[in-house]
Each structure stands twice: as structure tokens, then as C-alpha cells.
């Protein structure tokens, strides 16, 4: 494994009570450029490291959204502006937006799964001439968990069809209620000419991918981001094995055509 490179926390934005977005810039030599969908191993020095996907890439700056759920993520989530974290990467496969050129795009996110998909949205908005209609479908548990709430209106203004739903509305919520797959019927896409990008809990991914195929998308055109325990990031340790795949190297983004049969095996 390579030595983690020191990166300085430039900004920290609170997205939700337990979620923060960190913008990092290299304190020394920058790492090679990341592609959307790839992940880094982020180190909270003295605590440990976890894999975190990039949610924006701006030159040498990296942006990561982190939910505090354990010791390492809590330490990273609590990083202060000016503090230092360690970064290894880039690791894994990207979303492959280039392969979707000319097609309608479906970006489908559940919960914090919107974070790895955000760079797909930003790239598509930056070059609208390269693809067809852009749909962003977002599901969250409660309104307060919705990520990038300040950005989604801007995405709409720039031409994206953004549909948002929550499982549990509060008294102030006047939007949609239901699971994210229920939004598919309202998205604007031609199934035979669409590429879908899906990220979220694995049950949500399976349900969404099956629904997409039922609606006429080719399984090769449904790209999903999978998850197993990432550790080394370079396919050596085997912790992230899913059948023939080592997801840190062969994933996390794979096609539903590759993933479908693997996810039917409970022991994998």
C-alpha cells in the first residue's frame, strides 16, 4: 500500500446533523486525478481509514461527503477547517459517463448514495450537449437527510429533471412521499436509449435495477456502485471480494449485467 498523502481541509459544510462535506487540497504533492465514481481511502490520523467516494473533483481539490457512523467516519466528519487528513487513491472504476454520450441519463440515488453520483450530475450539467435528457431521482429517509439541498434547485434551473421523495415526511414537507423507484414513471427517458447510474443501499440498488430492466433498459446500460469491505484499495487483500470481482479494483461501479447474478448468491 502507498503512504497516504496529507491533504488540508479547506472547507467543511454541514449537510445534515450527521453528514458533512469536506473540501480537501493537497498539502504536498497531489495525487493523480480522480474520476467520478472512484474512491479514496481517507485517514483520520491516529484513528484509522475508510473508503469514501469523491463527490466533486476540482483540479487537485477533492470533495468528500462523510456520514458519521463509526469511529473513523466520526473523526473525519468532525475535521476542522485547516486540519489535515491522509488520502490514498484514486481507487476503483468510475461511472463511465463517456460511455453514455448521446443517451438520456438517469441518476438514481438513495440516501447518502447521492454523494458518489454528484460528480455525474455536475459533469452532465457542464456538458449538456454530450447527452440527452438528464434525470436525477433522489430518495431519502426524512427531509432533513436530503443532501445538497442548496444545489438541487440550481440543477433544475440548468435543465435537469430533479425528482425527490422521502420515506417519512415531516409537517413541513410538501413534496413526494415514497420509495425512489416510484419516481421512475415520471422521469423523462427513452428506455432503449438511456444509461442509468444507481447508488444506495444494496436492496435499493437491486430493486431499482430490476425495475429499470423491466422498463426496457439493457442491463449493460445500468451501472451500479457496489459495496463490500474495502481495505487495501488495490486488489491485494481480498476483503472486498464479490465472486470473481475485487470491488476495490474491478468496482465499485459495475454494470447490472455483471452484478445481477453475483448479488443472488447470499454468501458472496
Amino acid at each position: 500500500m502507498t503512504t497516504p498523502a496529507p491533504y488540508r481541509v479547506v472547507t467543511r459544510t454541514v449537510e445534515a446533523p450527521d453528514v458533512a462535506t469536506l473540501v480537501l487540497e493537497p498539502a504536498g504533492d497531489p495525487l493523480p486525478p480522480f474520476s467520478p465514481g472512484q474512491f479514496a481511502m481517507l485517514y483520520a490520523f491516529g484513528v484509522g481509514d475508510i473508503p469514501v467516494s469523491v463527490c466533486a473533483v476540482d483540479g487537485h481539490r477533492l470533495t468528500h461527503t462523510i456520514r458519521a457512523v463509526g469511529a473513523v467516519s466520526s473523526a473525519l466528519h468532525g475535521s476542522r477547517t485547516g486540519g489535515t487528513v491522509g488520502v490514498r487513491g484514486p481507487f476503483g472504476t468510475g461511472w463511465g459517463l463517456d460511455h453514455a454520450a448521446g443517451r438520456d441519463l438517469l441518476v438514481i440515488a438513495g440516501g447518502i448514495g447521492l454523494a458518489p453520483l454528484r460528480p455525474v450530475v455536475l459533469a452532465a450539467l457542464a456538458a449538456p450537449e454530450r447527452h440527452g435528457r438528464l434525470n436525477v431521482l433522489v430518495g431519502a429517509r426524512v427531509p432533513g437527510d436530503l443532501l445538497y439541498a442548496s444545489e438541487t434547485d440550481a440543477w433544475r434551473e440548468r435543465g435537469a429533471r430533479v425528482l425527490v421523495t422521502v420515506d417519512r415526511p415531516d409537517a413541513r414537507w410538501n413534496g413526494d412521499v415514497g420509495v425512489v423507484t416510484t419516481l421512475l414513471g415520471r422521469a423523462a427517458f427513452t428506455p432503449s436509449d438511456t444509461t442509468a447510474f444507481v447508488c444506495g443501499p444494496e436492496v435499493m440498488i437491486r430493486a431499482t435495477a430490476r425495475d429499470l430492466v423491466d422498463r426496457g433498459l439493457d442491463a449493460d446500460r445500468v451501472r451500479v456502485s457496489l459495496e463490500r469491505t474495502m481495505h487495501c484499495g488495490v486488489g491485494h487483500c481480498g476483503h472486498c471480494q464479490l465472486g470473481p470481482l475485487l470491488l476495490c479494483r474491478d468496482g465499485p461501479v459495475v454494470t447490472w449485467a455483471e452484478a445481477r447474478s453475483l448479488l443472488r448468491v447470499r454468501e458472496l
Partner: protein
């Protein structure tokens, strides 16, 4: 819109069903039907959204699901005792095809192929999809947990 309730029909059966339809509009906030009222009509939404709710004395109308363009509003008209299980309110301005249940039920009895097509569509497109979605919501997949998506900012399993 990529598909919807009407997309599940053959051209002939869709035309037959639409022969019973009239176009209606509801302003935002319109109460379309109440729980336990007789289910004498149904709708296919063309524009806008409708919230389905269940009334709780302490908390008022609790929205359980939102329906949008292309979706079927109401299936209790098809099955006895023909009463609504939930209430419905227009979330915003709604335009819909509205159907009276009696003539459609009569057509189902008279034309078995049409009846089968309509029943299948209601079962698969409306009830089936909503049941699957409801089951997924029951899992509360997005709850904070230490087995969340690590690469999306969670923690390794």
C-alpha cells in the same frame, strides 16, 4: 414520461378504457376522496401530484405515498366492498382522466379480454409496484447504521 398505467395496455384496450374517460382538473388542495367513502370513480393522472393519506386523530392526515403523472389513482373501485382504504388530496394543480366505476365494471363483466387486461394492469402496474415499494420502505434502508455504504461516506463493514 417513459410509461405509466395506460402504457400497460394494448392500443385497443387503452382506446376502450379511454372511451369511458373525461378530463378533469383539481386545484391544489382539493380533497379527491376520503377514507371509507364509496369508491365510485378512479383517475389516471396526466399532470400534477396527488398525496394518499391516512387520518390519525392526533397527527391529522399522514401522507403515505405520492402519485404523479401517468399513475392510477384508486383501485378500490375494482374490488369489493368498493370503498377507499386511504384518502387523497391534490398536492398541486392536477389534470386527470376521470372514470365512473359502474360502466367500467360493467364492461369488465361483458368483455372478458378487456376485463383481464384491466385487472392485470391494475394488479401489476399499480398494486404490484406499490407493494414492492412499500416493502422496501418497511426496511428503512437509509437509517443511520454502522453497516452503511462505506464508499459513499459511511464505515467499512
Amino acid at each position: 414520461m417513459s410509461d405509466g398505467f395506460l402504457g400497460a395496455f394494448s392500443d385497443a384496450h387503452r382506446e376502450r378504457l379511454l372511451s369511458f374517460a373525461r378530463t378533469v382538473s383539481f386545484p391544489a388542495g382539493t380533497r379527491v376522496f376520503d377514507e371509507d367513502d364509496p369508491a365510485q370513480r378512479f383517475w389516471v393522472l396526466r399532470h400534477g401530484h396527488v398525496d394518499l393519506d391516512c387520518h390519525d386523530p392526533a397527527r391529522g392526515a399522514l401522507v403515505v405515498e405520492t402519485l404523479g403523472e401517468g399513475e392510477l389513482l384508486g383501485w378500490s373501485w375494482l374490488f369489493e366492498p368498493y370503498r377507499w382504504h386511504l384518502g387523497a388530496t391534490a398536492q398541486d394543480a392536477v389534470t386527470a382522466y376521470e372514470f365512473d366505476a359502474d360502466p367500467v365494471r360493467a364492461a369488465i363483466e361483458q368483455d372478458a379480454r378487456f376485463g383481464l387486461a384491466l385487472t392485470r394492469s391494475v394488479a401489476s402496474v399499480a398494486i404490484g409496484r406499490r407493494l414492492r415499494a412499500c416493502r422496501i420502505r418497511l426496511l428503512d434502508l437509509y437509517r443511520p447504521t454502522d453497516t452503511g455504504r462505506a464508499s459513499a461516506g459511511g464505515e467499512p463493514r
